[in-house]
Symmetry: C2
């Protein structure tokens, strides 16, 4: 049994590898390329688990993360973020080390700067918004997309590689049918853009980015590449969206119990906003909560315990609200497992993982 004395991010290696294998197999089955997003785990070792499954190209969300994984020997990296022109010198340093870089573009001025300042050619995705308005160009803005595509193709350093869509609105539903519908419509819209681009559109790769769609959809027609990230661990958001089962969640934070208030039926743990961030969900009674409780076991954890939830967080404190029956079963000095709402943010804060055989796995920030 592991000795845990302070908040520790536990990783169920077996489940994590099963999650990777499932997505790798699915991509093969549907004949799409998996370019997994590494922003969730941000770990060199977990990256190696992907490599063992034959993955060679990866996605990251910042140039800093690209630098980290390039050092770890990854030679083909997509930086899935509207490219920040101030990072051109950093991208040039990666290109000088023969790392193949693919960037996202959403505006012409960025393409002009890239063509003036890059030391070697790169691939460019045009990021599209098919109903999730964040950073892409709306799929109905055909003339804007066409102009940008022409500018990219004209540039000596920018090669128009594909059309990218992160249909993040799949996170805003909890019906499997709706997630599938959002995806199908997204793919249709992106393919319509490709058609409208005429000759420019020929051979362009279409990549879809989200874990809900990539997990649930069983028809990848019109898609060439997928770039999900969260599936490596999943989390309560994905479980609430019916994207994963509870068992597929591969991380939990071990938190020591430090106090109990019988009056309020509350249990205080060491585990706060610096461990979980502040993402939350709402339960059936519209009560906000920040995590679910599991009992830690020799090589994993129990299913979610009914009658207790992480209901409040300050910097280091977590407050669990429990039914009187559950309250009685927990003692000061116990270590509880907490399933995180959002595993990407939790991993980013915890900065290292502990597996059940006692192996410490590093996260980008720890190196």
């Amino acid at each position: 049994m592991l000795t845990i004395t302070r908040p520790t991010l536990l990783l169920n290696e077996k489940q994590c590898k099963a999650n990777i294998r499932k997505m790798v197999d699915k991509a093969k089955r549907f004949n799409v390329d998996l370019v997994p997003h590494f922003k969730t785990h941000q770990s060199a070792e977990i990256g190696e688990w992907f490599r063992a499954f034959g993955v060679e190209s990866i996605t990251v969300s910042s140039v800093k993360m690209a630098e980290f994984f390039a050092k770890e020997g990854w030679g083909n990296i997509t930086i899935a973020f509207p490219f920040n022109v101030l990072e051109i010198p950093a991208v040039n340093r990666l290109l000088e080390r023969n790392v193949a870089i693919t960037l996202f573009a959403v505006n012409g001025s960025t393409i002009e700067r890239l063509n003036k300042e890059l030391v070697a050619p790169i691939n460019v995705f045009i990021e599209l918004d098919a109903g999730y308005p964040r950073s892409g160009i709306p799929t109905n803005s055909i003339s804007e997309i066409t102009q940008l595509a022409q500018l990219i193709e004209k540039g000596a350093m920018t090669n128009l590689y594909g059309l990218y869509c992160h249909p993040g609105n799949t996170y805003q539903t909890n019906s499997v049918a709706e997630i599938k519908q959002i995806w199908t419509e997204g793919i249709k819209k992106v393919n319509t853009v490709k058609l409208h681009l005429g000759e420019l559109g020929e051979g362009l790769k279409i990549r879809m980015g989200d874990t809900p769609g990539c997990t649930l959809v069983e028809n990848f027609e019109g898609v060439d590449e997928i770039g999900p990230g969260n599936f490596v661990f999943y989390d309560l958001v994905m479980n609430y969206l019916n994207v994963c089962t509870e068992d597929e969640i591969a991380v939990a934070v071990a938190c020591p119990v430090v106090a109990k208030s019988a009056e309020r039926s509350e249990i205080i743990i060491h585990g706060g906003a610096v461990h979980f961030s502040k993402d939350h969900l709402f339960d059936g009674k519209e009560q906000k909560f920040f995590g679910e409780v599991v009992i830690l076991e020799e090589e994993g954890w129990s299913s979610i315990i009914d009658g207790i939830k992480l209901t409040s967080l300050s910097q280091e404190h977590g407050v669990l609200k429990a039914t009187p029956e559950i309250f009685e079963t927990i003692e000061v000095g116990d270590v509880l497992g907490i399933l995180p709402i959002h595993s990407c943010l939790t991993a980013n804060l915890m900065k290292s993982y502990l597996t059940f055989d006692g192996q410490v796995i590093n996260h980008l920030e720890k190196l």
Copy 2:
């Protein structure tokens, strides 16, 4: 001028030192001991700025932080968190290095374990709840407090040092008068507990912990020590509570502009939940927001720009909603300053500071 290419936490050193000086002077003026909380900055260098003002005793919120500051030569550390018995071996290692440790207790079983397992004596505060129910014992639970006080005093390794109260409900108002009233009532309740303790209460130190009260209150009667932390930087929460002026906020995150959507009058920055965490405030129209925008200058930043706010965050993306007039003034490639909602969580995520003379200041996690 600083060269900034990616999200960077800027520290206005002059303002930060002014904030420290003001609190140090206030403590002297009112004859209370300042035992500043270092959880906000978590920085060895900023700790030295406190030391230069004569501060010798500090507060932290975890044993890990105590270990860090002990290595930096701090010899008197309060761990302001209901003590976690699983950390006794770690505390023993600190005691063996002659670090004076003060702990918080809220239950008898913890005191029993401490007395069995500690290698040297420590001071203990009983943490009280005077209206902010988190981890303290309610001030009206006199018999519970008395029993705990007796147990602490009886123990060979636990010395009853004082009564601690963090009236966190001062964060839940925005009226200066109410903050002062909450404080005054809290002090009264804690002093009543002290009186009820009779002989046991004699000589006990009373420490109050929150930045709003310590900043605003001008009557420290009945208080011996104060332990605020956030005042070192302040933030938008404190500004919204009318605890600090905008000018007193000493940190801002510099974020590159990567895209614009004229259709939605939105600006996309590199700056997301991994930089700011997810704390938010509500504006006058009950719209949630995650930060305010300032223009970066040679040695600081402008006042808050009206007509633009950070309205949405994902892992690395921030979305600013702007009026059409403000929208026009901002270009892709600009670097904007964002005042954080909660400086403690932002500093914890950013992990280092950059001053306007180009000095990089480290945060615990970076060492």
